[in-house]
């Protein structure tokens, strides 16, 4: 079976749904969202906690309420949401391959938007040592146990990681009768504002930073986590579950299968300032680009990219018009910077940057000749979303690669 539409959106999370609504608002006729799960809404579907929705709906909502609201808004706008539709690849020319409950199908779109989100690194991806018992999972799995299935996967877990999402894990546990044994961070300091982790202390959950994971214990179910603490002593934390939180990585499976150029730092697709990937028909938005930002940021990004797509479609006259290609000069992040998105810029834009660890110093954008274009003083905690506003640049600046450097204070 084959079908056509104006814009096909891969992924019905905050980024995909907001893009869909904006496309409709700007008059695009046929907008189809393809969502692999039985319900659209993305990750917030199973985040039964606030805060979601401030930017979008000017009120604080829980994740599921927010997800429902996104879906309802999209449906009202006339977006066609197809659930249980998994996109396996996007072939050139905007041809999507789908796996559905009716078997394989294709859908041809004038433009495609990939908004497949991200996920937390698994125990395997972190190469965490030890045995492989039942009860090791990511925060998202914990949250779907609790908020989607109404079950507790364990009673006394250890939470590994100290990014914002570790707090989600912590609060979900506390609110549902699970008592975390400890919060364990392998790096020297917590990976968010120190203040947030004071909350753990308030809840009397010890925070162990600088710990080395020695082994996951338990032959069938989790029985403990053995670690070396930052003072060199070895301990065994008795527990019946382990949550590996954070260390997000893009859900770039479709992007990879579609042959899009990927960024070695973000591990997501490379885009220009308009959100266009290395395939001219394919745009990208949301956390698949930058692990990890809030739902609100992804939502706004979806809307912005939708504007670019809508304008481009409106400008198309004949059937044969070809899409533009990726535009602008490449921005190369230097030492100490994990990624910068977008990877290409032309006009005035805002860069979304992540440093390795905490960063204090000067953030400097230079052109190929070494000329300083933008400078910003930086004091960032680890995993802090860093923004850099870049004004319209002159032709000389855009004639070669741009370099974004972090000059650390010592």
């Amino acid at each position: 079976m084959s079908d056509t539409c104006d814009v096909a959106i891969v992924g019905g999370g905050p980024a995909g749904l907001s893009a869909a609504v904006e496309l409709k608002r700007q008059g695009v006729a046929r907008v189809v969202v393809l969502e692999r799960f039985g319900r659209a809404g993305g990750i917030p579907r199973h985040c039964g906690h606030p805060p979601f929705g401030m930017r979008e709906f000017r009120r604080v909502l829980s994740g599921p309420a927010y997800a429902r609201r996104l879906v309802a808004t999209a449906e009202e706008a006339g977006v066609e949401i197809r659930t249980d539709h998994t996109v396996t690849a996007v072939r050139s020319g905007g041809v999507l391959e789908l796996a559905t409950t009716q078997g394989a199908m294709t859908l041809t779109a004038r433009r495609v938007l990939i908004a497949t989100g991200n996920r937390e690194r698994t125990r395997a991806q972190r190469l965490a040592p030890g045995l492989r018992p039942v009860g090791v999972m990511n925060t998202a799995a914990l949250q779907s146990f609790v908020y989607e299935e109404g079950r507790k996967p364990f009673l006394r877990p250890v939470i590994v990681g100290s990014e914002m999402v570790a707090l989600s894990a912590l609060l979900t546990c506390m609110r549902h009768g699970m008592r975390p044994v400890a919060l364990v961070e392998t790096r020297e300091r917590v990976q968010t504002r120190r203040l947030f982790m004071a909350l753990a202390a308030l809840l009397r959950v010890p925070v162990l930073t600088g710990a080395e994971l020695l082994s996951i214990e338990g032959r069938t179910r989790v029985e403990g986590l053995r670690l070396r603490r930052n003072d060199g002593t070895e301990t065994m934390l008795a527990c019946d579950g382990i949550v590996f939180s954070g260390r997000f990585t893009p859900e770039a499976t479709v992007a990879r299968a579609s042959g899009l150029a990927l960024d070695a730092g973000s591990l997501g697709p490379e885009i220009d300032a308009g959100g266009r990937s290395s395939d001219p028909h394919v745009f990208v938005a949301g956390n698949v680009l930058h692990p990890v930002e809030t739902a609100g940021v992804c939502w706004a990004e979806g809307r912005r990219v939708a504007g670019v797509i809508a304008r481009e479609l409106a400008a198309e006259t004949g059937e044969t018009t070809e899409p533009a290609s990726r535009a602008g000069a490449a921005v190369r992040p230097g030492e100490g910077l994990r990624y910068v998105v977008p990877q290409r810029i032309s006009g005035a834009t805002e860069l979304n940057i992540r440093a390795e660890g905490a960063a204090r110093g000067r953030l400097v954008l230079r052109d190929a000749t070494g000329r300083e274009l933008v400078v910003k003083t930086l004091r960032a905690y680890p995993e802090q979303p860093i923004r850099l506003r870049v004004p319209a640049l002159d032709a000389a600046a855009l004639s070669g690669d741009l370099h974004l450097g972090l000059e650390r204070d010592d």
Partner: protein
């Protein structure tokens, strides 16, 4: 001797439901014996057979004239014979023993000669250009290789499950949570004390893998071999990696260092491993950081495109090695004791052959078996191989539950309702691949837990959760 049946007494009690025990149960059941299988764990394949490289070996490099070689080659032929009826997949990769130095290159002709002597006559040497033409992603410093066209990749779990299911269809009983704790001889009967109660059998076959010596002690008082577990760790790369290698890449064997294998899996991933680490513990297949790093370094050295390739899974298996290299297969017909022990590193391939061999030993002492079953029932295994049609591609599957491995709700239900259903989460994963993909259950774990709730011997949810 005539076999009379005073009800629950079986002709044969098989200790252990690893791949060897499953094949053993099938063979004896096919030949008309009544069979009971005692398994300590909550599912089949819970020991050594849980984790291996999944290569169906030709025996090209096995010791010439050994029982191991004979079993592997008989088993290879039998597998190819039965696989269509049971829907057991084969990925026809072929293998290359690749040489990376002068020293290794110099050894290739010896390997070729041994392969030829072992009857693997389609092996041949490839020059560097031929190797690179076949596998363009290999590092340029490859020197040459021995090509073994019929080394293949299989599904390491559906094959033993098929053997066990067929045995069960023929009347074999599988008891789980049934660790053998002791045994006594009562006339011509073994009275077996198990965690699931008393079981009687005329003959016992020791297929206890990593505990083969302990189990032997229960029957003979003194073990004739000693298990020395040897761990093998693996790293499984994302499916995107598999486009970089089609042929199994084997190392040139060397006395000093064990080389690692790079191979596709039947599920569409690429695997590097195993290590070979001697250890005391029989129940600790730990993964460890330095070894995983070493494996990935090696993988990148051989196939540079694997640098920065995402990892999907890491795991380790324990080989039931002994103080000697060969299989420890022996029989004491008077005692009614048979042993298939020390099936170290080729058991996935050889199990069918080992089973026939042990049955032949047994048959010699038991002239009056009721006779082989005519037209035995054939279980048909669900296909999980990536290169063959999967369930999600067939309409009406009720939605995909695990998106990384594209496992449908229909497949999960079918596994839970199958004749030999999974006993634990691991068993469900092995039967369906759910939660085995790149997100390792980030998306589907909770759903899988509720779908299987109350249907496993060991639930995914902790006891007493409400």
């Amino acid at each position: 001797m005539h076999l009379v049946h005073t009800s629950p007494e079986a002709d044969v009690a098989i200790i252990g439901a690893g791949v060897v025990g499953c094949a053993m149960a099938r063979r004896f059941a096919l030949e008309g014996a009544t069979v009971v299988v005692l398994e300590a764990a909550t599912d089949i394949l819970s020991g050594a057979s849980k984790a291996n490289s999944a290569i169906l070996h030709t025996g090209f490099d096995a010791p010439t004239g050994s029982l191991e070689l004979a079993c592997m080659q008989a088993a290879y032929a039998e597998y190819m014979d039965i696989r269509a009826a049971m829907n057991l997949p084969v990925l026809e990769t072929g293998a290359m023993v690749a040489a990376w130095s002068d020293e290794e290159e110099a050894r290739l002709p010896t390997l070729l000669a041994q392969a030829q002597e072992n009857g693997v006559t389609d092996t041949r040497l490839l020059g560097r250009a031929e190797v690179l033409a076949r596998e363009p992603a290999l590092a340029a410093h490859v020197r040459g290789a021995l090509l073994v066209p019929r080394e293949y990749v299989i599904d390491p779990w559906s094959a033993p499950l098929a053997y066990a299911t067929q045995a069960q269809m023929l009347g074999a009983r599988f008891l789980f949570n049934a660790a053998l704790k002791g045994a006594r001889r009562d006339g011509a009967t073994w009275v077996l004390d198990t965690a699931a109660g008393e079981v009687k059998a005329t003959t016992v076959v020791n297929c206890a893998g990593l505990y083969g010596d302990h189990v032997e002690t229960m029957f003979t008082g003194k073990p004739s071999f000693e298990i020395r577990p040897r761990k093998g760790q693996f790293v499984v790369y994302d499916k995107a990696a598999s486009e970089h290698l089609r042929t199994i890449l084997l190392p040139v064997p060397n006395d000093r260092t064990k080389g690692v294998v790079l191979t596709r899996t039947i599920f569409g991933n690429l695997l590097v491993g195993p290590t070979a680490e001697e250890q005391e513990a029989r129940d600790r297949p730990d993964v460890t950081r330095p070894e995983l790093d070493m494996l990935m370094d090696k993988a990148v050295e051989l196939v540079p495109a694997l640098r920065d390739m995402p990892v999907t899974a890491v795991y380790a298996g324990l080989r039931p090695a002994t103080e000697r290299k060969e299989y420890r297969v022996h029989a004491d017909a008077d005692l009614g004791y048979y042993c298939a022990g020390g099936i170290r590193s080729t058991g996935l391939t050889a199990a069918l052959g080992i089973a026939s061999h042990v049955f032949a030993l047994w048959g010699r002492a038991h002239q009056a078996v009721r006779g082989a079953v005519n037209a035995p029932p054939q279980p048909v295994m669900p296909n999980l191989a990536e290169h063959l049609p999967r369930d999600y591609q067939t309409p009406g599957h009720d939605g995909i539950v695990c998106h990384c491995e594209m496992v449908t709700a229909r497949e999960i239900r079918a596994a839970l309702d199958s004749p030999l259903p999974p006993g634990d989460f691991g068993g469900l994963r092995r039967r369906t691949r759910c939660a085995m993909g790149r997100c390792q259950g980030f998306n589907c774990l909770a759903r899988v837990a509720t779908l299987s709730e109350g249907k496993l011997r060991a639930d995914i949810l902790p006891e007493g959760d409400a």
